[in-house]
Amino acid sequence: MNIILVIMILTLLIPIYQGWKDEDIWQKMLAVASISSKTAILILFISVLRDDWMIAIVGVIILTVGNAGFMLLAQVIKRVTTEN
């Protein structure tokens, strides 16, 4: 189980590197969306490993609301960049 966790963290590093390197703002947004869903799944995974209901609830809420929030952010950024 620990090995799976480490592989998940390494997978998390790829979009972080990509978000740092790429100059286009949409590539960055893609990386952020990927990271947010990955962290939520990681929280769920760890909560199930520890058999902890509280953290699992937090993970599910973050999964739902985080995605909705990034949709909002994408709309706002689109407004900003198209006006330029």
Binding site: L5, V6, I61, G66
Partner: protein, 205 residues
């Protein structure tokens, strides 16, 4: 789970890494997107360290609300408002337009695109506000509705001072920094630049 500390350390190490990435960003919008990464990782760290309430607050307030509000704030503050005349502002060209008028319009569009090019290096946006005539334009500048105004120079003045055809437009700024930025690249602006200090009502340059 024979050694649970190792993966915990690994996840916690991601937090300063993403914070460092956030600090070295130059473009404000890119920095805000990286702030999203930082928020997600901070949520993860808080959650696995057992602070579910802190993680939830970080996700909802710190990431969602703060980033959205900051995007709106950055968008409305990083802007250069330039007042122009209504006749210049109209984009569509009529069929019965004289060649002189057309040249003037082309020059205006060139000036505007040059301004955009220069201030893009400073991550500013250009916003054009149109006014009816030159009196309204100057009034807007006096009342600090705009940061600068751009208008065509009168014909008789042009004849008196014998200006060449290039400098048909006059641009006045009331912000000293904007004037500095634009005048640094004076060669490709193709307009007369000047800076006016509104408070003392004294024109410089």
């Amino acid at each position: 789970m024979n050694n649970p500390d190792f993966s915990l350390y690994l996840i916690t190490a991601l937090l300063p890494l993403s914070a460092f990435l956030l600090v070295i960003q130059v473009n404000p919008f890119h920095a805000l997107v990286i702030r999203g990464i930082l928020g997600a990782i901070a949520t993860l760290v808080y959650a696995i360290l057992g602070a579910g309430d802190v993680a939830l607050t970080e996700a909802l307030m710190g990431t969602l609300l703060a980033i959205t509000l900051y995007v709106i704030a950055v968008r409305s503050s990083l802007v250069m408002k330039l007042g122009v005349l209504e006749t210049d502002f109209q984009k569509e060209t009529q069929a019965s337009i004289s060649t002189e008028e057309k040249e003037k319009k082309d020059l205006f569009l060139l000036i505007i695109s040059n301004f955009k090019k220069i201030i893009r290096k400073y991550y500013l946006r250009l916003e054009l506000l149109s006014y009816k005539d030159i009196n309204n334009l100057e009034k807007a500048l006096q009342e600090k509705e705009v940061h600068g105004i751009c208008f065509p120079i009168n014909n008789n003045i042009k004849n008196n001072e014998n200006l060449d055809n290039k400098n048909l437009y006059e641009t006045i700024f009331r912000i000293e920094r904007l004037y500095e930025i634009i005048s640094q690249e004076n060669s490709n602006v193709e307009t007369n630049l000047s800076y006016v200090n509104i408070k003392q009502n004294k024109e410089e340059n």
